[in-house]
Symmetry: C2
Subunit: 306 residues, 2 copies
């Protein structure tokens, strides 16, 4: 019932919620850290959850790091975490491609070296990583040499994104059998101090516009992201809590997959945003209303220490 | 009446239509030429129209050439034409910016050297033309030095489009007073042999997504494109014919501005496309139904020679 949602999580409710779940999924940026700084108290929360027998996973749309790179960052900030608990879109995109029967071939990658590594680690060869400068004239661009083994175009965050990459993706996608996969649709990467830079969603929109078709998106709020964790660890959705700072990705993923949801206010979305969705009466927007909210996940600490 | 539209222009109808107009606006690519080849008979049609006292204008969404460059191309293909008869979006964007009161400042340009020249020729300084390679890390990108005199971001076709340009546009546009102007929204540039490369529409979509706002578009089907010609030459819409190969730009512009419209089948759109719009019953789509169609504008020749 919508009216019972979007409650402040406090007092005995906290332990009640934690007792009702076996697994907790955390988004990273804006939830357990901001940039290169841990949210104060977050490492203690994660470490105590595990000590209390909960399974913890890190579920992020950011495609610029491998599982290993995330595990290293988590460790350096004081989180007790392993590579196998990390589900970023670089890794999940590789898993998605592996999950497609008969996709025997290479990937044309608009993305980071981390994505290249995750693809390689599941045996998928890529072409395209790195800069791709422009040369020649329009007729040359339309006739760029294409690798006949490419069966999918994958778009993630790529600081080397360029007109030539956009063109190459379009030429590959002129074959209707070539798949188009996007890591995520986040339009901005928020940084410290209210600043931001363009996110993967902008690059994906350019490719979708050129190719005149929609991408299969791997990242939150797509079901696949949860399925990826759930299938490996046998998660029970009803006994899983999704914790995130974005209503349109984290909370919507939780709703889409039947999880309990907790919004934390250390990132992008506000309680006002959530209430607006709640009062809209629009079924699609109700999926973005969390069950609970906290100012910061540090508010879970007392219940875990008690 | 919709039923009386989309008729094949032939026989005595041709002279009747031509007698009813004083001015004829031609789209270029797919109408009077394809790539670097004139449509057979097109130069004779244009030259005879003028000899018969009609005013002729060339109205193109392509932003990669100055008026001078178009006049040179027209001359080299046998068209009797002057710079002043050419209205491309490079020139019209400059005119659009000049038309905005109190816009005293520079433009951040994602676009060609031709756009830079057209801006300069009306006294508007630009920054941004040419390559803009990526350096540093995310926090550097969010803090790129911005020119405080920039009052508008203009997006046209730019083969040097890159993540850094997208980012710079977004940083300028984080100031809500900075305007966002796009030359056109064509998603593809069609080339010979059914090939194509990504058009300005893809780049504009990326910038709009990052900036989280819509651009003011100068090119067809925007009213501004016709106003630009009409205000300089005192055109009477009811006595003006728009000839084009695209329903969604050329024909829609004509409808939007109260012109007579003629579709030619040497380019992108087909009669089947037009009939589909006609039968849709959707008011928005009816604007894309031409009054008449011809296989090629060469079919106007006999009426002009007679």
């Amino acid at each position: 019932m919508a009216a019972s949602k979007c409650n402040r999580l406090c007092g005995p409710l906290i332990r009640e919620l934690l007792d009702s779940v076996e697994s907790v999924l955390f988004d990273c940026d804006g939830v357990i850290w901001r940039g290169d700084q841990a949210i104060p108290g977050a490492p203690e929360v994660i470490n105590l959850l595990k000590k209390n027998g909960k399974r913890v996973f890190f579920v992020t749309n950011n495609s610029t790091k491998t599982r290993k790179m995330y595990a290293d960052k988590l460790a350096s900030l004081g989180f007790n975490a392993t590579e196998e608990e990390v589900f970023g879109t670089a890794y999940c995109s590789a898993m998605y491609l592996k999950s497609i029967p008969h996709l025997k071939g290479k990937v044309y990658l608009i993305g980071s070296n981390a994505m290249k590594q995750e693809l390689q680690s599941v045996g998928i060869e890529q072409v395209g990583a790195g800069p791709d400068p422009i040369n020649g004239v329009q007729s040359d661009w339309a006739n760029v040499p294409l690798d006949p083994d490419v069966k999918a175009v994958v778009v993630g965050f790529d600081e080397h994104f360029s007109y030539m990459k956009l063109n190459r993706a379009m030429q590959y996608l002129s074959n209707p059998e070539c798949l188009l996969v996007g890591t995520n649709t986040d339009t901005r990467l928020p940084l410290e101090g209210g600043k931001a830079v363009p996110g993967t969603g902008c690059l994906l929109k350019a490719v979708e516009t050129a190719a005149q078709r929609k991408a299969q998106v791997v990242g939150k709020p797509s079901h696949f992201m949860f399925d990826c964790v759930a299938s490996q660890y046998g998660l029970d959705p009803a006994k899983t809590l999704m914790v995130g700072d974005r209503l349109d990705t984290d909370i919507l993923l939780g709703t889409n997959c039947g999880l309990k949801t907790l919004l934390t206010l250390t990132g992008v979305s506000t309680v006002a945003d959530a209430k607006e969705h709640q009062q809209s009466g629009c079924p699609k927007r109700l999926g973005m209303v969390p069950d609970y909210f906290v100012e910061t996940i540090a508010e879970l600490l007392p219940a875990l220490q008690g």
